[in-house]
Amino acid sequence: MDLLFSAIEILSRWDVFLALLTGSVGGVLIGAIPGVGPPVAIAILLPATFSMDPIVGLTVLLGVYGSSMYGGSIPAILINTPGTAVNALTTYDGFPMTSRGEARRALSLAYSSSFFGGIFSIICLIFFAPVLAKIAPLFGSREIFLAALLGLILVIVAHRGQALIAAALASLGMFINTVGLEPVKYTKRYTFDQSFLAGGIDLIVVVLGLFALSQAFILLQGEDKKLHIPRLQGSFFQGFKELSRHPRVAAVSATLGVVMGMIPGVGEFTAQFLSYTYAQRTSKRSEEFGKGAPEGIIAAETANNAVPAAAMIPLLALGIPGEALTAMMLSVFYVHNVVPGPQLFQNRMDFVVALYLSLLILNVMVLVFLLIATNQLIKVVKIPNRFLGVCVLTLSFVGVYSLRNSTTDCLIAAVFGLFGFILKRLSLPIVPVLLGMVLGGIMEVKLRSAMARVKTPFDFIDRPIAMALFTLIILVLLIHVRQLLKSRKELRQKNG
């Protein structure tokens, strides 16, 4: 109880409340604008949060992260364009509903499902906290190394059909992380005798280039579309009533969101895909899926909104980010000398609980905002693409230049922006570069300290958690190879 009061005390500050409000409203707005998305917004906001208190800075970013998917459902339903990438499945049933004049019903269902998914995962997180606090200290260097390696492998194999290039890009991320002075013997690595490379390549510069600048270039190269937005009348509360008629789909989707969110590298896409497939297979009206089935919206929106809170579990407990947004947040933790990992649960549990509570309040704020302001909010969907590109490019400058007032940083970001643009044009994944950079750094440090204490390679996995993680790695690789062989066989049979 003391812990709870201590957490409430942290959250009762006016600046934390303001951060929650800004983050949640800002996140919904950003989510509602197709082509921007939370990675761009978080990348731009990162440096601005450095001057804030850890809890304030993190709350703003958590607000954007946790609320953008609510906003992303608006263009997915109204104009068949997902606001964020993870709202893609919402278009399947949301837009057909809009086409037959049920836009308000679809939006209302999306809001209530998202709210249920968000609250469900936060409750799970609160119940998991004592268990995590007990398990997390059992993770030593070798366990964290193996968990990071598992995360990296999962990120790579999750890109089905693109695993090879994802592995190459993750290796590139690992390489970028090694540039500069290495931290043990202080020898130079790939600095080419250039002073600006001696300090290494800043993660935030790379993030801003890959996510924000590349998106600006995509938008500037694109074309504006004329959009017709339907008028919405009436209440948005009916969705809760309709959601209560499908408790099984909602509960299973939220559970899948929590489980998938906890596994590094898996995240929203897999969660909503599995939920949608489950809802369709178990529905009595499965033929309606893709044509405006309410269960389709419930499955997709509940699952994707259950992920953000769950994705905080590996980040907070082990310091291992599972996807791009939590990887960006990791840098905020480091900047404020709050090191996520087992120690955080032992020493700063009030801080962890405050984060959970802020997520809870955030979901309520977002829902209230959406119920009141949807009719005004949908106007942002109409902002022309190229104008948005100008805005993102201008905002990216604040993000990069305010770090160190360095023109070189801006040049590096511009180069990564161009690289990200090419990757996006070719539909190649960007996330492995970022996770390679973050997890590569963790792996280097942890392997070095772990190897100092082992004599034979078998000593590395002689502890139960290390052994379990090692077995999981082997299992994931075996399953991936099996799937590859199976699809190859199917392809051969198909070609006769």
Partner: protein
């Protein structure tokens, strides 16, 4: 692994430029790998995992190996006109990093507010917008960005060199807020 790429086939039939990208990527990776000895150190009496050279080597070998396999299993191994058209698009896009760098270089000279007020409308013009509402929106956006980030959030962007020519009372206000 080939099946991995077989799945790619569908998308690669539409998207061209993969081969050029992969060739450029592997060339970069090989050239970096060839400089491994020169650009990293091998320290005596230090375990392999703690060697400064270890992680750059692992990552560069990974880059070469996986990109090599990617090229090996690419369904389209011949360069056609569509590949070059895609590459042209990449080259054309260099215009925007250049705009960005002009904006970056204008800032220390003119200051954050003036350079943003010039950059945003200029790029709006370049994007083909000619209606007054777009320019007004651009100016309003510039003002909001500068006021939110510099005046309220106090992000570290130094004042412009031209501010030095302003009267004392105005100069400090501009340096602190714009």
């Amino acid at each position: 692994m080939s099946a991995d790429l077989e799945k790619n086939r569908g998308s690669l039939e539409i998207k061209r430029g993969h081969l050029i990208f992969a060739l450029m990527f592997i060339l970069l990776s090989i050239s970096l790998l060839l400089q491994l000895e020169e650009q990293t150190k091998w320290v005596l009496k230090v375990k392999l995992a703690a060697q400064p050279r270890f992680w750059p080597a692992v990552s560069l070998v990974g880059m070469v190996l996986f990109t090599g396999l990617y090229i090996l299993y690419l369904p389209q191994k011949k360069l056609v006109r569509a590949d070059w058209l895609e590459t042209r698009k990449w080259v054309q896009t260099i215009e925007f990093p250049l705009w960005f760098m002009i904006y970056v270089n204008l800032n220390p000279i003119l200051g954050y507010l003036p350079s943003t007020l010039i950059f945003v409308p200029a790029l709006i013009w370049r994007m083909g917008y000619r209606t007054p509402i777009m320019f007004k929106s651009g100016v309003a956006f510039s003002l909001v960005v500068v006021i939110v980030f510099k005046s309220f959030l106090d992000v570290k962007i130094p004042g412009g060199a031209v501010y030095e020519f302003f009267p004392d009372s105005v100069r400090n206000f501009f340096i602190l807020n714009f």
